[in-house]
Symmetry: D2
């Protein structure tokens, strides 16, 4: 097709000028324009900042469990759950139902104590509801994190390199929740509000918590809590159409400085929408985090109940267990993250 | 349809003689023929033995983390993963690929640092690969655990009662692995081998571990490890066709006595196949556990690496975090269970 | 569940009082309340008025081809095609793409003249876009056309009786188009407009055509043509939400009198929506046609281009070839009907 | 990925040396190595030899209807239908069942004459069972028929150029059946048997029929009829694994000379498998027909009943109505072709 500008396709095409080496990495292609973790964990690395979580940190995170309380941070994988509108809803379907049993019931025959079973399946867009964007989800030009070539991801074979299956034992460690809405004294930050890095520092201070190497940082904007009061299709369209609060370009260095392992939030995109006027790239936070830093992003996490609890006991850290589904060549994963306090 | 014998349908039908009350429970229908937990956690209970896991037990389980080592016990959700042959394979498909980016590449145009993304989805039978059988998976006659009516599970609405969504914060607690193959000194127990309850006691003693209230018990037969050497379609057909080692009717009381919260294994059905000659019902272990006891069953768990580690350090207990996907009205769930030692 | 009123479910349930005989037919259940074709083509009939199309009629219909012009009457099976909003859109997906070929291109290697292929699939609700409602689509109470039991249609096995596969050689014969919008001198009849049977007679007279035994009658209300100018989601929601023009209860006898083989239209439901105030049943036209008469209904047919042509040459009859997809146990089928003049 | 030989991928890649012009056509890429129809119907043509069917030919074909007998040539779109093993089976699923109606039955309530409906869907690989390979299905190197670029077919957008939707009014015309098995006096030609072009001429002469411009040619090898007696999975694997009878490179000129509009057969690939030893390309018949000639190929057509009828009445020509499903950007289509005699 050939692309002349963002998100527009033209018919003509000129082959790219880069080549791809034997490992599957782009030669003479894009290289990070800002902070970068390329090469930090070796040339063959496909896990990025997930590498920051060490057994020592996991051990310490387990020590954060003080009461044995469990919080699921996952939205329901259902047709009417909040999701990015361009993606289709999950479709749960039954392949053998209890109603089938009733119409073919052994209670109407001589077979005492009959075994009958039900079965089901789900057709699930992998970035539906609460999710991880894997590192194969976004590239800059044709290049993924650590210089891997986007052409390694095909319809025929999926993500042959950097599939989310590599993360099947990742994202288990210390979670820290920053409740930015509560800190700002509002129910929800407003669409278009750029969270300044100073606000992160202030919330950290106010909550009396620390954020450091290998942590999984959860940001609560409160914007998800607005979803539940929406009733009409038009309201739900506007919910996403109006944009959302989020991080701006100014936070990229902050995140790199703190060496966190992953970041998640209660919005569909983590970064502010509409974008800042001075952006030098489209979705600059996605590109900086996923491509340059190899920092996995979580979206649409349901943090409300957990935030209530943290506000009550004043403890904003916990053991977080949020591995992706083990789909070897997937680019993303729906998840049911578990926080344990 | 009307059913005259197991798994055979006839055309004629007589309505059942039971009725269903306002809560959705069968009146004058099946009641447990052996040990039972019906009513133990109230008439409205839909979680069964998952109720046995208390915050205290979770807190204690977190204390089992000594080294910070993580073990994923999930099989890959891929087309060629082991699965019960009557269910279709998972179908992972790409809806926007990196190869699409290359043919529409911004590197051939003026748009520097272009954002491009990939997307994917999976059509996933929910009992594919490593899974929980939810309590809505199996009924006896038309009655589910705690007397709920199977007719509450429809193609139109899924499991309106006892959907696996109720378990989204469950199955997080102390896991105990019994490596029965290792205990028997074999690579794998043989198909058709009935694991006697005494063998469970002996393995417990030999491993120097205890099993008690609220534990999640993992049984390793070794049979899954045979799968990986199979190459032809015929061999894989025979793998499941020949049956598998598993629990027999004699273990039901043992499981009830120990008040475990859930049980999982490395076979497709937990219970011995082909069944014992003196069975009074089809799949008696499924019926006793899921229907009478409300005890959730895990199948096709990949326990080999964990077992290696446990044999090495002599520690057979760990924090297990194995919540289902949060699909509100599902009867089962594919999972990626995480053990942390 | 038990149902106390239309489309509402309650938890309690009493078994029905009917039984089902060995053929799969309801005994002591619903029988037609008006005109009926039950038994007309035998007790085992599953094709209803499709039986009216004889080889003689097909032969005569082939004689209507005078110019060799072909008209596809099918809407695109695409995500944004008009469809009943309660049904999900079709999802076409590529499993091997041309872009995959480019990134794995043999032109970059020594293999001259390499074979490469593309593959795709569609997840298709069978009543998406242009469709036949099969006779298994609708029942009155628990009884389908000719007395068959609805319980013969299960999630586990599909429509074991009266699946649309029985129609795989049906709906090939003489088609007659009545352009009611043109006859009324409007672009489109209005939502809620009840087409009186007299209007059918008048259009027949004005168009100088006859309608008789075994014909497939196509009614054009013009309402579909309004769809194409809609742009916003809210407009499209209102399009279906406002109802549509269609047949009322008063046309049922007319259709029975004319002994047509099938009827199709350019609306989503054929019958007027919202329904007439004096209806004695919900969707009375569906119930009379599909259940009592065994008369298959076609919906969302794209008749505009054909109508233009018929208006031009004054010929409103043609050979129609509109078999369903051959899905043996389906209740409905998306179709691409072909008119040949 | 980069490809060094057929069907093998390597990690490294060099961009191709061709470019793509504004229309979406390859510049300095592959051009036909034998007979070619490129440019014959204009530079923008996407329908190839389907252009050969004129209204005059359709009119004449309608005149072949002498008895009004209809023959469906489609295999069932069901899980156990014959299909190329590398493609998954069709998955028909019910989203609202008759059994659901029974458990929520209005017959147990006061709502007389209740409307209840059933709904279903199918997840259908588009080359499942009886099908058309569209012209976007196969390319040589990166180039499709008429010089179109394969990169126009993406996971994100499907076949933006030459999608099978362009054919929605095609493949309606004169069909001619050549029963090669009957002609050879066998139930089925053997796997690996190369049908020589002389055999086509002899069958034409023996059947007393002519084949000419714009005809749709149906070849019956009898090999499909062997499928129905297979019972085990191993037998079905061998059925396709052993290859099949079919056309060889020697027939390509014959097909070009006769200027047929399309060709279909009762095997999975039309061309002989395993291929001839002296092949200069992989699947040379596919490449010559689909890429060089723009000649659409039909596969797995069920010709047995039609052949019986033709043998009985000695008439081997008929009106054939075989349009694809109207999926605008699909590369192929499952079909239910209709022959009318």
């Amino acid at each position: 097709m050939g692309r002349k500008e963002f998100n527009s396709y033209s018919t003509d095409w000129k082959p790219p000028t880069y080549t791809v080496d034997e490992r599957g990495k782009v030669v003479d292609g894009y290289t990070p324009i800002g902070r970068s973790n390329w090469g930090r964990w070796g040339e063959d690395d496909v896990r990025g900042t997930a590498n920051l979580i060490t057994p020592e940190l996991i051990l310490r995170a387990a020590g954060l469990v003080k009461r044995g309380e469990v919080f699921s941070l996952g939205l329901p994988l259902a047709e009417d759950t909040p999701r990015f509108p361009a993606r289709p809803p999950a479709k749960h379907y039954i392949t053998q139902s209890g109603s089938d049993a009733v119409v073919g019931s052994p209670t109407s025959a001589g077979d005492l104590h009959g075994f009958v079973s039900n079965d089901d399946a789900i057709d699930l867009p992998l970035q539906n509801a609460t999710q991880w964007d894997g590192l194969a989800h976004v590239q800059t030009e044709d290049t993924l994190y650590n210089g891997w070539w986007a052409g390694n991801i095909t319809a025929a074979r999926g993500a042959e390199i950097m599939g989310i299956g590599n993360m099947r034992e990742s994202f288990i460690g210390r979670g820290v929740l920053l409740d930015l809405a509560r800190h700002a004294g509002v129910d929800s930050l407003e669409p278009g509000f750029v969270i300044p890095p100073e606000m992160l520092d202030e919330a950290i201070a106010a909550q009396g918590v620390e954020v450091g190497t290998g942590d999984i940082l959860l940001l609560r904007t409160g914007y998800l809590s607005r979803w539940w009061s929406l009733t009409t299709g038009a309201e739900k369209e506007a919910y996403f159409g109006n944009g959302e609060p989020g991080l701006g370009q100014g936070s990229i260095d902050w995140l790199a400085d703190h060496d966190i392992a992953a970041i998640a939030c209660d919005t569909v995109g983590l970064e502010v929408l509409p974008g800042e006027p001075d952006e030098v790239r489209k979705l600059p936070v996605h590109q900086a985090l996923l491509v340059d830093l190899g920092l996995t992003i979580g979206e649409l996490w349901d943090l409300d109940t957990l935030a209530e609890d943290c506000a009550k006991d004043g403890v904003w850290e916990f053991l977080l267990v949020a591995p992706p589904m083990y789909i070897p060549r997937a680019v993303a994963s729906a998840i049911n993250p578990i926080a344990i306090k």
